[in-house]
């Protein structure tokens, strides 16, 4: 198993490099990092532009630039940013940590909800509960993430107004100044997280619950569940030990495959709730044509996806003996 993991990681590295190369080329060719400078009024002297171009290595040919960047990254240097006071590496780390908080909790919430709803829907197939869940599932699948996030935000504001004090925070990931000790800090963070997490979780949950329902139905109608009943096991035992155990396995792969979608969702959520996370960092960098920042972002985000996919595959092998020796 260890050999398999190592092999997978080794194979992923070229893909990672290729992916960053593609993005690097895309951003370099299509945008002009100096455009912000050039459009300033009054226009800066040519010497300033020259210096800036040198600082950003724009005098080198594209491939050399990429190689320069890549070798720098391996040593921890993510290159110069358009915003001269920003150091890309640490900034990326800080921002991704914030986003990681959001994504981790949202995914957990989505998985738990999806399993509960999916299993109940399957066990009570064609009942009123099933139809209600199905209806809401379809509704959430059709809902634009940004629209729903804004709606939730407004609802949060109304809720706070009704309560007379600010329980749910709608702006930022934490307050600037918190008085009180650790408990106050924790409640502050939680208060900031509630709405964005729900926004992000609900859309993934809709897709996953439909999937879990289908998976559970397939298992419930399987021969081995029938044999388990024929053995004389009680309905509850069969449900947990045989049906659920097997029905949960495919969900592992599905959540992993959807990580890219969730990252995209996080970008939107962070914009709505004005979090200083990786999502907003990307949008800022793109808007400024900050090549190295965007490339660095893509590198980290893609690494996440690849590592997570690998972890999911390994977990799948642990859970399902049939593919263990593949």
């Amino acid at each position: 198993m260890l050999a398999y993991a190592v092999r997978r990681i080794l194979v992923s590295v070229p893909i990672l490099v290729m992916a960053t190369f593609v993005v690097f080329v895309m951003v370099s060719l299509s945008g002009d990092p100096l455009s912000a400078l050039k459009t300033r009024n009054p226009p800066p002297p040519p010497r300033t532009l020259e210096l800036e171009a040198q600082r950003l290595n724009l005098d080198e040919p594209l491939l050399a630039r990429y190689w320069h960047w890549l070798t720098g990254v391996v040593q921890g240097d993510f290159g110069p940013s358009v915003q001269s006071t920003q150091v890309i590496g640490p900034e990326l780390v800080e921002r991704f940590l914030v986003t990681f908080r959001l994504i981790a909790v949202a995914m957990l919430l989505a998985v738990v909800l999806a399993v509960i709803v999916g299993v109940i829907s399957a066990v009570k197939q064609y009942s009123g509960t099933d139809y209600t869940f199905t209806f809401f599932g379809f509704l959430f699948l059709a809902m634009p993430s940004f629209w729903f996030a804004i709606l939730l935000k407004e609802a949060g504001i109304s809720f706070n107004n009704a309560l007379g004090k600010q329980v749910l925070f709608t702006i930022g990931d934490s307050s600037v100044y918190i008085e009180g000790g650790t408990w106050a800090a924790v409640t502050d963070i939680v208060g900031h997280m509630i709405l964005p997490t729900i926004s992000l979780a609900l859309l993934s949950f809709a897709a996953w619950s439909r999937f879990q329902r289908a998976s559970m139905l397939e298992v419930l109608n399987s021969d081995y569940v029938r044999l388990a009943r024929a053995k004389g096991l009680r309905r509850g035992t069969v449900m947990t030990r045989h049906a659920l155990r097997t029905a949960l396995i495919p969900l592992v792969t599905v959540t992993a495959l959807d990580l890219g979608v969730i990252i995209s969702g996080a970008i939107v959520t962070e914009t709505v709730y004005q979090w200083r996370g990786a999502g907003s960092f990307l949008l800022e960098s793109v808007a400024q044509d900050d090549v190295y920042a965007v490339a660095g972002w893509m590198l980290i985000a893609t690494s996440f996806v690849i590592v997570f996919n690998l972890a999911a595959d390994l977990l799948y092998a642990v859970l399902d003996p049939r593919i263990r020796y593949a």
Binding site: R229, A230, G232
Partner: protein, 385 residues
């Protein structure tokens, strides 16, 4: 095998056990261990009401092998699933299925295995769970999908044991290995730690048989146990089934469409067609003196080694749709003897003169001494199937 409450050196001997139980339970009660009366099963689908079983009655006696034979769709599997309460929730079951198991002589739970005469239809989940796997055990058709892929084979057998007996995990594990040995699986201790996908189809089916006999059932229902396997493996499975029957002394309900299997294993036979029993009798009566055209047709379409056959006589046509069945005998469109009365009155399962030999045909007397060639046209290029 589990330790009997009454210590007996030859505890594996069925005769001995029977003596023991007769002594401990007092009078030898009714000989029928399973009594099915007017069983009807209906499914409601988008296309109408499917009448899968339309009034089936029979008795399974202690220690006998009752074969149920019929084409796909005749309702034979549904009958057994109905008895076990394993049909999907959309099925409408009526009639009665009574299980007449003795109070288990070897379990510590006095009400286990079903008291004398339990009505299975409509019983609660907890009641049925006590009987399933212990009083009545079932073997399914497809061994490739009958076992849970994520648990080892030994675990799944031990699970069956622990569901009904109060034993430790280790003890159950050891019993599981013994059971694997009983069904002739080589290296049973090692094999117990294998996963189902590491075993061949034949071995998986033997594991299923081991699970079935783990708790010494009084009835074993084998639903098409050999259909999904190839012929050489079939022989091994039939042997394992035979061992199972001898070891447990159980009565067996053997459901199959394979007449060869019936001939080799069954004591009595029920022939089913379109949801009803159309002939019942001993295996000799069915094979050598059939009294229903369908049975004759079945025999005529099989090549046989015991009777000299020169030609095959297939039955033309197809079985009727189970939705919206017209009145009269369902075999009418394919029966060479069909007359006006057959289209209006469905013949009841009635006696034929020999005690115990029943047939559902208006003209069963006419069939006395006939061979398939006398009724059906031989297989030729022009035969419309």
């Amino acid at each position: 095998m589990s330790v009997p409450a009454v210590p007996c050196v030859v505890s594996r001997c069925a005769v001995c056990r029977r003596l023991v139980s007769v002594v401990t339970s007092g009078t030898s009660s009714d000989d029928a261990v399973l009594d099915v009366a007017e069983l009807q099963v209906e499914f409601r689908t988008d296309e109408g009401r499917v009448q899968a079983v339309r009034g089936v009655s029979f008795q399974l006696h202690r220690g006998e092998v009752l074969g149920i034979v019929g084409e796909s769709g005749s309702g034979k599997s549904v009958t057994s699933l109905a008895a076990m309460g394993l049909l999907p929730g959309s099925a409408r079951v009526s009639g009665s299925v009574r299980f007449g198991g003795r109070s288990g002589s070897r379990s510590r739970d006095p009400s286990g295995g079903g008291s004398a005469d339990t009505e299975l239809l409509g019983a609660s989940d907890s009641e049925l769970s006590r009987i399933r796997g212990r009083g009545i055990a079932m073997i399914f058709q497809d061994p490739m999908t009958s076992l849970n892929p994520v648990y080892t084979v030994g675990y799944q057998i031990a699970e069956a044991i622990r569901a009904h007996q109060d034993v430790t995990r280790d003890a159950a594990g050891k019993q599981a290995v013994e059971l694997l040995d009983l069904v002739s699986i080589p290296n049973p201790a090692e094999r117990a730690r294998s996963y189902p996908h590491e075993l061949s189809g034949g071995m998986r089916q033997r594991v299923v048989i081991a699970i079935a006999i783990a708790n010494d059932p009084e009835v074993i229902i084998a639903d098409e146990p050999t259909t999904a396997l190839d012929v050489t493996v079939q022989a091994q499975i039939l042997e394992a089934l035979h061992t199972a029957k001898v070891e447990t002394g159980a009565a067996m309900l053997l459901i199959t469409h394979d007449l060869g299997v019936i001939a080799g294993q069954a004591d009595r036979v029920l022939v089913m067609y379109a949801g009803k029993v159309v002939e019942a009798g001993t295996v000799e009566e069915i094979f050598y003196a059939p009294r229903m055209p369908y049975t004759l047709g079945l025999l005529g379409s099989l090549p046989r080694l015991d009777v000299r056959t020169e030609r095959l006589y297939p039955i033309s046509g197809t079985p009727p749709s189970a939705i919206n069945m017209p009145p009269g005998c369902p075999f009418v469109p394919r029966c060479p003897l069909a007359a006006a009365v057959c289209e209006t009155d469905e013949p009841p399962l009635a006696g034929t003169g020999t005690a115990g030999h029943l047939s559902a045909c208006h003209f069963s007397d006419k069939l006395d001494g006939l061979t398939p060639g006398d009724l059906f046209r031989p297989l030729s290029r022009d035969t419309e199937l």
